[in-house]
Symmetry: C2
Subunit: 588 residues, 2 copies
């Protein structure tokens, strides 16, 4: 037993008791003949006191301690003369009479404080030290709490957690698989699952009724800030349900998490929005509805004024930035530059200032008379002091750009408070997504998503208009999860594969076992999956998922701490019967 | 909403209510103008009744149903005239007035009953049907309960579940790694973890204090009945602990699981046995102590009687099989054949019958006079009616063979009841294990295990005698888990690598980041890992772990249902810059 208490535990009620603590030296302050040491563990900080007059030897020992030394101390709990209200243990201090150094520490390469001086690279290389920082560790405590409460809710709702295999077969559709060469079956490979989709559907065929799993999934994609090659899903599936049942259960789950993890209660049902409305009013299938600022389409009103940009655009829409009429030229230029960035790719931005005196000032005064501008402003219900921002072009592209602008304005206006949560269901997704490049329709969700019955006739005439029983859970503009009611009829599934351009042979080769399973009494079923990493980073108020992952990889997919991936021993390659081809250089 | 109740829910109190159920047709019985259909879901069975006189059309529809059809029925809950006490819903039946076929089913390739007619191969190919069987599904329900209760206990004990990466670096020591080629770092490979050992130790360095994870681990080994290429560990680690702290916490966990999952309470502390005693008295580091039948060493007593087999053996020991003196010649021959099997490899077996009349009859009467046999029997405290079985030879080999014999006798005597659980801690493991083939010492547990302080002087003089702070949890002869107090001192860890034959360069290359972490204030720490698959199969009374895994692999590491592993598309290999070498045939 190395300790009787943790470093976050002692209070006024413990005064007079003897205690033994163990932890890390956070800081040392010497004040005359007194030395104060803050000792830290996961649970908190406690102040230790050493008095030269009482024990000079111990006092000297304490003064030789360094930051991050691991120590064990025994002493008496005493009331502080200067109570520190900022520390949970701030009422007390320990009058130390025994001090043991359990392990020494070199000076860490960066300071172990909430606001560290360490850059990203050094923090990742020494991740085990970075994880000592309260801010990083508390994200992982939050992650534990979210996963635990998720399980508690789903268990209560009769869901069974079933582990599905990690070594599975490769299905080259969709994102790229990570593959694993098999030594027992030379020349053959396993793949790591991008999701347990097929297995959870099979579990429904098996009658498991309610399945979930908090499970690692893998995608060999080029990485972005919010992507990791391995990520964690809360994966769920239910049998004998329609969309309403699924939404109810998982709205319940989100409310449970908000309540038990964030202490936020949502009394009302979460709002629902069709995908079509999401695009129309927010230019997004994951609108941030912490603030309104809906898109207003003004093509009709702005046309016919010889402004060729608008006249030639199939789509003209804008937003009204409340109270922003005072934006300076510089601020407006910034916004223009913002939408012109390659990531957004807009050509420009038209503004209309609704001045306090009721007049209008715009960047297109040449084309629009004051009464025209007034008419436009009326579409937005704009008030004096507001700023209207208009964009135009091809519809989807412009909506996407305007969405980014809306979020930027929302941020500038402080309307995107990380402590405010606005959950939302997006429903009625299109079944297919058209890809110009390959001139082909793809499944927007995945090939197992059930079309809406009433849209079935459109399958042959207007694929793009067919809606699906798919849904996403969106909070604050982040897609936390999504799913669908699945096809459970073999013939419908075959037709869907056909519409997606699969030959019967290819469908059989990739999904034969699912199609076979559908012959033996597959129940109606549906489900969804939440991204745990995103959920944690949302709850933690993080911008990237990286700091809610204990040992993340960098943008090249590397673990810089353990220096992985790495070259293998030749013997390992030989056992797998593999050869690495020489890298061909350009020009060869 | 497809149903108002599940098929296991309705009771007498529901009589008179209208209900809608959905599920699978388990069986259909026609009795005159009445048809009875048992409808099944995960929660149970309910009897449906259709009466030709009431609704002839519906009656006909019901008679056309096949096994495993998925149906939805609505009807009134009625009291049964013949109550079925073997069914939880046996008090009631449903007078059906609406029946809808949700999906049809072909005749399954084997019967979906507890005792199926399906062989292993067909059951694995159609695993999704096999999982419909109550006996298989209940194993997975048990697995869910064990995992959930494990988490509940550990959460209560302030453990944090932290996910460690699946794509890590390869450490070719130990078992073979599965590897994953990296596309973003061509020519380099990730490995799949054999355990999160290094990560959990780093988390202790990070101050996480109490870590756990229920986590998939991977070993590319040739498979046996109780091995799978992917398996699940309950992996745990604690800081500022000694062995006693770890044993207490995890004895508590086992008691919690027995109580909340099996409804078995253990009031007393689990017994503890040193590794040396395990070998001496049971010939095993995982003794089954559901029954006594300890080994008795008799080398001294049996020597000097011109029986060259015993005289030339360094070790002679035996067991006393209570009440087995009546074993026939045939039974004794069976036992001799049993120990002579290649898996056990003993040369023979000597028996001494302690007859009811106080005389002795043995297979070595030629060498031992009645008074000699009496003296031997006295060593065992054998009573009239008992049977003494003796084996001899090299100590470890003979102990191992005698252990198998003891288990066999125990089984024959019905002393290995699957509903009796005898937990046990094995402690004081040797630090090293000598391997004759390579003439080298290996770490018995792993290279991070702390030696016992008092044995440190032996490190240079008698490696084999150095004990470690390692421990195993054994129940009914199954090693459920094990762990150790770890080395937290860099110098000691370096010395250990040296003793294990690592060059400093190799140690640095493989474990550099751990050695580096030890420089920055590593706390004393220790932990253990439980095999979840074994724990579930023990609780379920299974002989193999396979039936507590939803989608297991066969002995060739294949998933026969989805036919994985498989050959890759050439384009996938090209992207990874890999080439499969042509298989060389023998003689080339």
């Amino acid at each position: 037993m190395f300790r009787t208490h943790t470093c976050g535990e002692l209070r006024q009620t413990n005064v007079g008791q003897q205690t033994t603590l163990a932890g890390w030296v956070q800081r040392i302050r010497r004040m005359g003949g007194m030395t104060f040491v803050d000792i830290r563990d996961r649970y908190g900080l406690t102040q230790l006191v050493l008095n030269q007059d009482v024990n000079a030897e111990l006092f000297d020992k304490a003064n030789k301690l360094g930051r991050e030394f691991v120590i064990q101390v025994t002493g008496d709990v005493a009331l502080r003369s200067n109570i520190n209200p900022n520390m949970e243990t701030g009422d007390i201090e320990i009058l130390v009479f025994d001090l043991k150094i359990l392990n020494e520490s070199k000076t860490p390469p960066f300071t172990i404080e909430d606001n560290t001086d360490g850059g990203d690279d050094i923090r990742m290389k020494y991740r085990y030290l970075d994880l000592r920082r309260n801010s990083v560790r508390s994200n992982l405590e939050l992650r534990h709490a979210i996963a635990f409460e998720t399980r508690r809710y789903l268990d209560k709702m009769s869901f069974l957690e079933v582990e599905t295999p990690v070594l599975i077969g490769s299905t080259p559709e969709g994102a790229r698989d990570f593959v694993v060469p098999s030594r027992m079956n030379l020349g053959q490979f396993y793949a790591l699952p991008q999701s347990p989709q097929l297995f959870k559907q099979l579990l429904m065929v098996s009658g498991f009724d309610r399945y979930f799993q908090i499970v690692k999934c893998f995608r060999d994609e080029d990485l972005r800030a919010d992507r990791q090659p391995e990520f964690t899903q809360i994966d769920c599936e239910m049998a004998f349900v329609d969309q309403e049942d699924v939404l109810n259960i998982f709205e319940g789950m989100m409310k449970h998490l908000f309540k038990f993890v964030k202490n936020i209660e949502f009394a009302d049902a979460f709002p629902r929005m069709t995908w079509a409305d999401g695009m129309k009013y927010y230019g997004s299938d994951k609108p941030d509805i912490r603030f309104e600022m809906k898109f207003v389409e003004v093509k009709e009103v702005v046309s016919g004024h010889n402004f060729v940009v608008f006249d030639s655009s199939p789509y003209v829409a804008g937003i009204c930035a409340t109270g922003c009429a005072g934006y300076t030229r510089k601020q407006l230029d910034e916004l223009t530059d913002f939408v012109k960035r390659p990531q957004i790719g807009a050509k420009g931005l038209v503004y209309i200032r609704c001045e306090a005196d009721g007049t209008f000032k715009s960047s297109v005064d040449k084309f629009y008379a004051p009464e025209d501008l007034k008419l436009i402003a009326a579409q937005f219900n704009a008030q004096p002091g507001d700023l209207i921002l208009l964009m135009s072009g091809e519809m989807r592209k412009t909506q996407k750009a305007l969405c980014e602008l809306r979020l930027e304005i929302g941020a500038r206006l402080g309307l995107r408070d990380k402590n405010v949560f606005a959950p939302l269901w997006i429903i009625d997704f299109p079944l297919f997504e058209y890809d110009e490049e390959t001139d082909r329709y793809y499944a927007m969700h995945h090939p197992f998503t059930s079309p809406m019955l009433e849209d079935l006739p459109l399958l042959k005439t207007n694929k793009g208009a067919v809606r699906s029983n798919a849904y996403d859970m969106v909070v604050n503009g982040v897609e936390l999860g999504g799913g669908s009611i699945r096809i459970h009829d073999r013939a419908v599934q075959q037709e869907m594969f056909h519409h997606l351009g699969f030959t019967p042979e290819k469908a059989e080769a990739q999904f034969g076992f699912l199609m076979s399973a559908f012959q033996y009494g597959a129940p109606p079923h549906g489900g969804l999956a939440f991204g745990l990493d995103r959920l944690v980073s949302l709850f933690a108020g993080l911008d990237s998922i990286r700091d809610c992952i204990a040992f993340p990889k960098n943008n090249s997919g590397r673990d810089v701490m353990m220096d992985a991936p790495a070259v293998l021993d030749q013997s390992q390659l030989d056992e797998l019967n593999l050869e690495i081809k020489p890298l061909t250089t350009k020009g060869e």
